[in-house]
Assembly symmetry: C2
Homo-oligomer: 448 residues x 2
């Protein structure tokens, strides 16, 4: 039987980050990562395989950093975990461990629609053969239907419409696209851009059935309408992959994911878990969260990896920070929307500003940027932010995230020290974060 | 005699931000802004007048936001302040006030070089007639010499070299350009780019004299070398403009600027001051700081404006957050460099990472981004950061600034929740802020 110090099951976002963290914190311990696939796909890059990248190969994880840090690999399938004896059974034999990290990730969430099993219907899976098959089938497809208009749905649809001769329709049950992360005034901006780019977007519609013999022919909506489809892509989220953990006897949590404490330890001592497979707690109020993001997986992995032989980090809960783009439009969001904040029971005050992201505004590259900040009126603390602008918004939202994670108040943010430079940002007097915070402060004062 | 509630002297960055803040916090008070010039120039945009913008007119402050907020204007020259009687004497008469904010800004720092008074030698002043004259003179100039290679020097030189037929030389007494904000490994990147772009850069040289009859002909260095010059631009920093304050009897501080407490109140009750004219305190250790930035001025203005009738904000000290660009190179910095941190007495640990700012790295727009973070080994607290990359770096540095202002530790930053998206940022596993922090954590552990 092989014996190792730190064994990691799963080698995508969480597993890789856990392995690197373990090596950096415990360089004298052997770290062995077990993964079925020799090369794993980069999850966030999946939609781009079908347009911008053009091949699955271009979206594979480089393992160079893991190798540089001295992580060992075993490309085997894990069949069972024996918690009592501290060993796992793999397709290659048995491996004993001192510490175990489960990073088994997620699988596409099942949807209860008749006909989803038909040929030509694809869930968004991280399996390379599955992705290869979809890529192949899309070549000859004319009518493509995407079910679900969250980030993955938007990105898939927009990438596929870049190919020649496709008619792409996106279906969403909610009244708008991207409602998980945005208030309606931001959602409609994405909807306009998608429509301008030639996509057919139908929100507020329910899929009743997927039609066809063996192979998909059309999608039938609850109102009876039929939308022709050669390929259907189901992008309705992910469900934790917990089979190994459940079979081993690890406790599961309220949403059916692997239960962990704030140190990322499971119900079994010395066994940790991180990533899409584990229970999430919201940063806001501490209740269960169903937000599954690669960056949350990586964050949890850095907690698990650091705590293996003694606690030094705790999970503050999922903030939810994310972004997407379509054409020149970039949307980004962090924390709670105004709608979600109200649902959480907060008394909300928001501040919204819109202005050029260069100064003077006539500088080249100037684009109007809109920022909305959502505060709790009682404490003045920042709860969320949403931004529309150019590519720099992908980093600006991380500033908003920092302010949320540090529970900064509107008054603190109103005197935030930002870099402002003519070729790069708004002016010192109109820097959006500061200005939106100041507007919220003024609103709070008026209602006192 | 006119009587107002809130009187603000100066209407550039600090004065405007103070006026807007005053209006938002005290909407029932009249706010009157006195400024000599009808239209004020945007200070950070000045270098761009000479290349990208092509005219002074395009770099004038829009006062639309002030007008919208109900700020009143008086375009008059302020001659004296009578603190005892709470009134000022202007070119238009007397104005009584209840609260006063001084935002008199800065003037170009004088340099003790023989010949600086010659025709063709220009300090970087905010005076529009002066800028107009420089713009005019540059048209026929062939040899342009810029003295000082800080931000303003770099930006002036790079803008002027965009014009046809100019030979631009930049002289810097320090061993590198931009040493105020960057460690040498970043400075040399800017130096390479400036040289590639055709600029003649000479560092570690001292200017001895400016030669010529009435009009400048050449610049003589301490080593005897002569550099031909039709125009000389002196970009060696700014000095506080304190004449009005001094004459009124307000106390000045250790560097000769207007003394203020952390609420931005001067030695006289109900009289506040903000911007380039006031004493600065460093965020690091609280000693005097000579960093003068437009964003610091705006921050101080938002403190002064909010505190006029009761304290609600305090100045945490100058962090120093800034950025610049030349061609496709963007450099940005926040807080202390490694060199400066050591000079401050910190035991320094740094973490540096370099990698693609897209994922996978083959995504369009991918550019290698380098981030260096500097931590205090004893507390683990972040002291500074420097970044080289593309335009999004202009916002990424504000994230670093937030981490500094919140005194976040390397461990906290290693589990920071960032948005990562293929078309916008690095991957969740390699997000620079998190990765550089984790490297620093590992270094701290090794040396314990």
């Amino acid at each position: 039987m092989r014996q190792t110090d730190i064994l990691i099951i799963g080698g995508n976002v969480a597993g890789s980050a856990a392995a690197i963290t373990a090596r950096r914190h415990y360089p004298h311990k052997e770290t062995l990562l077990v993964r079925t696939e020799k090369k794993a796909v980069i999850p966030c890059g999946i939609p781009y395989i079908f347009g911008t990248l053009g091949s699955v190969d271009k979206d594979l994880r480089p393992d160079a950093l893991l190798e540089k840090e001295g992580v060992k690999f075993a490309f085997e399938h894990v069949e069972a975990i024996d918690l009592a004896r501290q060993r796992v059974q793999t397709s290659g034999g048995q491996i004993g461990y001192e510490r175990l990290i489960l990073a088994t990730g997620s699988l596409p969430a099942p949807i209860p629609i008749p006909g989803v099993e038909k040929e030509g219907v694809y869930a968004v899976s991280k399996d390379t053969a599955h992705l290869q098959s979809l890529l192949h089938r899309l070549r000859d497809a004319r009518h493509v239907v995407v079910i679900g208009c969250g980030y993955i749905g938007v990105e898939f649809a927009d990438e596929i419409q870049k190919l020649e001769g496709k008619k792409v329709t996106v279906l969403e049950v909610a009244p708008h696209c991207l409602t998980m992360g945005y208030d309606a005034e931001f959602c409609v901006e994405m909807e306009s851009v998608l429509q301008e780019r030639g996509l057919h977007l139908r929100t507020g519609v329910k899929v009743a059935e997927i039609l066809g013999e063996e192979r998909v022919r059309a999608v039938r909506l609850a109102d009876g309408a039929e939308i022709p489809a050669d390929v259907v892509i189901v992008a309705v989220g992910a469900a934790p992959n917990v089979e190994l953990a459940r079979a081993a006897g690890l406790k599961l949590g309220p949403t059916g994911a692997i239960a962990v404490d704030r140190t990322m330890e499971t119900s079994q001592k010395n066994v940790f878990a991180c990533g899409d497979g584990v229970e999430k707690i919201s940063f806001f109020g501490g209740r269960s969260s169903t937000i599954r993001l690669a960056t949350v997986a990586a964050m949890e992995a850095r907690i698990a990896g650091a705590n293996l032989y003694g606690v030094r980090r705790e999970n503050i809960g999922t903030v939810g920070v994310s972004a997407t783009s379509a054409g020149s439009l970039v949307l980004a969001a962090a924390g709670l929307t105004e709608t979600a904040a109200k649902q959480h029971g907060y008394d909300v005050v928001s501040g919204t500003v819109e202005g050029a992201n260069r100064h003077p505004g006539v500088m080249p590259g100037s684009v109007p940027t809109k920022l909305k900040l959502v505060f709790d009126r009682r404490s003045g603390v920042l709860l969320g932010g949403q931004i529309r602008g150019d590519q720099a918004v992908g980093e600006m939202i991380n500033l908003v995230s920092a302010c949320i994670q540090q529970r900064m108040t509107a008054d603190q943010m109103a005197i935030f020290q930002a870099s402002t430079q003519p070729t790069l940002t708004a002016s010192p007097g109109t820097y959006p974060l500061v200005n939106a915070a100041e507007l919220a402060v003024a609103k709070m004062a008026q209602t006192r």
